[in-house]
Amino acid sequence: MDDGLFCSCVILRLYCLISRDICNRAVLVANLAPVTALVEARGLVKVYAPKDRKSEPFTAVDGIDFTLHRGEVFGFLGPNGAGKSSTMRMLSCVSPVTGGTISILGMDAATDGRAIRSRLGVVAQDDALDNELTVRENLLIYGLYFGLSKAVASERASELLQFAQLEERAADRVSALSGGMRRRLSIARSLLNRPDVLLLDEPTTGLDPQARHILWDKLYQLKQQGVTLVLTTHYMDEAEQLCDRLVVMHKGKIVAEGSPRQLIEAYASREVLELRFAVTAEAAPADKIREADLCHRLEVLPGRLVCSTDDGERTLAGAHRLGIRPDSAIVRRSSLEDVFLSLTGRSLVD
């Protein structure tokens, strides 16, 4: 071997020994360079072991693929039990995959969980805040997990309290906060390590409408700063507001993928006519509408009929001519809810 090369190798090795941090970071950057996708999941499967002898193993996620790009907001839409939270747990590297692979930031979730987690922010469904500590202390104590110095943690805590609009509550105990404030604090905490990717599991579930809108604003602000957001939701308005791209999950599988607009165009008609009846009414109007071929698709739900159509008013007039007298009728634009309905034959929120 060339002497010069040998020497520089030795020096490099020595340097690595002295400063493992820098070396590891160099390796990380090298790993990242050829990868364009931030997260890549292939054939992902999660099977939970049976809880006791009587029960069966439960397949929560059944072979899904998805790719996430830097800077986008990506959503998992689906009802409870669709496998969204299981997928999120696997993405946070706290739930070993049963099958398939996940690569995050160019690293393998199965072996590099620690290094991946140091660059993730995770907001769980229950905020898991420490009620005995103050708002500010909840941020500072989290910094310890990342080895942040007091000065750095303190500076970031101040920034994040401002971002979460909690500066005035900084010295209050967490137990005194409203649900919306708790969620904002929980998001602020997850940003303390300046993550590359922020994972949010049902970020607005259980919040009142005003608190939801404040939270959407905050998440939008993060998106504009280039943070990659991954969220699960069973609210279609949330998915439409926030997501650049989303997948619809049903029974552990991905049943559709695209931007909200693309999904609506592909799986729903332009307009929807909803006819509401007393829950006890019989199915006769549904049959009449079908026979008259008034709409592209008709879904029969408890107490209402959902007709996909190009012109809601004309369909309604047609129904009136058939002698159908609903309690109320609404014509609206198609939403993701209709996409979900046409894909799975059931409503998102039962």
């Binding site: 946070s92 706290v94 620690r114 769980a124 005995e132 390590n193 300046r194 993060l222 700063q225």
Partner: protein, 274 residues
């Protein structure tokens, strides 16, 4: 203001094998919390054992006198105090592990947050046990200081009762943490006190030498970890310790501690990485 990505960030500087770094970070979490909440812990871990020491040692001690044949001429206080030290260490070990671990593993508990950081379940477990060790040692130190002040010790080797009592506490804390990480049920913790802590307290030689028990109960007492803790602390406090016996007791307790750690490691991983 940038809240976004920063790859030159200190939070991201993490070698792949971090060894004790993770456990130290987990420990620093508990220390931070303790600085805010320590007042509530003083009564149960220090004041209660002290009241016991005063009431039994000085009160009952006067009744027993110095001439009870089994005490070989020592005062009852000198006999009882190191026993109480070991029993209090056991109790502190269980109090510091059962409730906090059960709370931390429950939904919304602190482990749920810690596991999404660079820490792994073993770091979280070791960090918490280090904190428990510190708490047990703190209480034991306070207790030994009072023993010395009351003249209840007979040898300088009483200083070694602090690590001995800490080891006794940890021999209970580690298996209890393993159990609590699985059970996570406040009622089960109550049962532990009723069925394990109380009988051990009474029959492991804290209040009287187990030699005077009927043979079956006596052999049972010899097998309990608390008896080994009591014997170790007592012999160190009275200056009657022999190297062989002391090492034997310590080995028993250390063995239990190690078994506890192995079980806890498994339990934490199973519970946190669903």
């Amino acid at each position: 203001m940038t809240l976004a990505i920063d790859n030159g960030d200190p939070a991201n500087a993490l070698p792949r094998r971090i060894g004790w770094v993770g456990a130290r970070r987990a420990l620093s979490y508990h220390l931070f919390r303790y600085r805010r909440t320590w007042r509530g812990t003083v009564v149960i871990s220090i004041v209660n054992p002290l009241l016991f020491l005063l009431a039994i040692g000085l009160g009952l001690g006067r009744v027993v006198g110095n001439h009870a044949p089994t005490l070989h001429g020592t005062s009852y206080l000198a006999f009882f105090a190191p026993g109480m030290l070991a029993a209090a260490a056991m109790q502190n070990g269980i109090i510091e592990s059962a409730f906090p671990v059960s709370r931390a593993t429950a939904p919304g508990g602190s482990y749920a947050v810690a596991k999404t950081t660079p820490l792994d379940p073993t770091d979280i477990m070791i960090g918490h046990l280090l904190f428990m060790a510190l708490r047990i040692a703190m209480s034991a130190t306070a207790f030994v200081a009072i023993m010395v002040a009351l003249g209840a010790t007979r040898s300088l080797s009483v200083l070694l009762t602090i690590p001995a009592a800490t080891l006794t506490g940890l021999a209970f804390a580690a298996p209890t943490a393993a159990w609590a990480a699985r059970a996570a049920n406040p009622e089960a913790v109550g049962k532990l006190f009723k069925w394990v802590v109380m009988p051990l307290y009474l029959f492991s030689g804290t209040f009287f030498p187990v030699r005077q028990l009927p043979p079956v109960l006596r052999d049972l007492a010899y097998a309990t970890p608390l008896w080994h803790g009591v014997q170790l602390c007592r012999s160190l406090s009275m200056g009657t310790a022999t190297l062989g016996a002391a090492l034997g007791h310590a080995a028993y307790l250390a063995g239990l501690f190690v078994v506890g750690i192995v079980l806890a490691r498994h339990a934490y991983r199973r519970r946190l990485y669903v």
